[in-house]
Symmetry: C2
Subunit: 289 residues, 2 copies
Amino acid sequence: MAILYLSTPERGAVFREVLARAFPDLPFHDGTAPDPGGVTVAIAWTCPPDLFSRHPNLALLISVGAGVDQLDLSAVPPHVQVVRMLEPGLPAQMAEYVTLATLALHRDLPAYLDQARQGIWRAGRNRPAAERRVGVMGMGQLGAAVLAALAPFGFPLAGYSRGGAAPAGVEGFSDLAAFLARTDLLICLLPLTGATRGLLNAALFAQLVTADLIAALDTGHLVGAVLDVTDPEPLPQDHPLWRHPRVIVTPHVACQTRAAEGAQHVVQVLQAWQAGGAIPGLIDRGRGY
Amino acid sequence: MAILYLSTPERGAVFREVLARAFPDLPFHDGTAPDPGGVTVAIAWTCPPDLFSRHPNLALLISVGAGVDQLDLSAVPPHVQVVRMLEPGLPAQMAEYVTLATLALHRDLPAYLDQARQGIWRAGRNRPAAERRVGVMGMGQLGAAVLAALAPFGFPLAGYSRGGAAPAGVEGFSDLAAFLARTDLLICLLPLTGATRGLLNAALFAQLVTADLIAALDTGHLVGAVLDVTDPEPLPQDHPLWRHPRVIVTPHVACQTRAAEGAQHVVQVLQAWQAGGAIPGLIDRGRGY
């Protein structure tokens, strides 16, 4: 039994140390394993194509990220259990980022940035938070943290998920159309799966693609957007979204797995796995998240 | 006894209506009063130079803003009581704005905006809120609202004021040097008075003026700034602050007095004044706020 680690060296050094303390007898290989057949656990962001053929005894694949959409799950053999990162820094960072983005849109920051580029000092009217209906798609760990962070500002809050169960003070929806009909400012935290890919397109903008997002902004149908995730990534240097006056693009920085907390999650995953218990963060291969 | 109103017409319409309900017999004049001698109360942002000579019986001057630094208090006759606006929308808006600005600096938004202008997708490292020591200068009504809004994010919080009394969970300072020595991200909410004018300059940047702020940014002494108040206002179109890559300038929009709530404050001021009670928002002419 051995661990194969395939991510950044800085994080790897911390993972090695934390795992060595918890599992002193478990080899930790960064990059390549001298005995590929001994590798039972892989920790990775993306997988090299030959990962599974080279390591036939691989049983557990742990993503270093909160999502697993960077993995091609159809290429993962059925006997491999896929686990996503759960560490407390992730919902905390997402709450920060989404509060920043929500307040930026609520307080017209894209318009003020556009005016600033032209040296124009012109104040618009501040709208009370009570008149800005915020809707959050996804009410898992990240959605719950975001809704809790937004609540003190007094936005009327709603959440959408398959089940529609919402925290106290949040109106829960499982019907997407009804949710969208009451929403002024939309936040999407859904995992990217076969079921969610293109969901915003169809429901919100009639087959929205990136070009249609720009069109919706240009016509005033959308007054602004903050994007941390784009298609493709990285966004090409000459892409019009970079310079659109109503758009703020950040390079996928909303959440970053912190090394020590991430390693701690891996320890918990391995302990649960060894004990035959419920693995925290285990992916439902059928749902894709 | 009559009210002279000298501010925007939109707000004036609401003030007229709210005041007429509370004081049906009190004349409300927008712009000019047919009987200047009858004017006892003025509601204004700034004062025309002849306000006091034209209205010798003026006894109460109510600012429509949270501050009174736009007024030349030395030109206000000693018998005139000056009152500033207290309405619940002001601390709420300030909490929104400062949370937005704090998270923008905490999450490196100026750098990402600068990269975006160049089409550069490059993620930096997110710093935990627990490692970002935030300091708030001013712990009055606005400072308390800001500190309460920032607390859930986990920033180590400190506040500076003359008395140093701080809310629970906030380290209070009356010593400016000690406060600055523990502060990574500085928020200034102090009223502009003779005692605070230039305070940041001397203590923080050794005689900082706007040009020195730019120098401190250029040398990396400051990593970024969000400015809602500038000297002068409006900021001239060709001013370098507009286009500095580490600066976000907004046109003095952090707080705007809402008409209905503002009128309600005026009602309370007039009721207290007529009853000879403590006037909410009364300015201490000696302190200047």
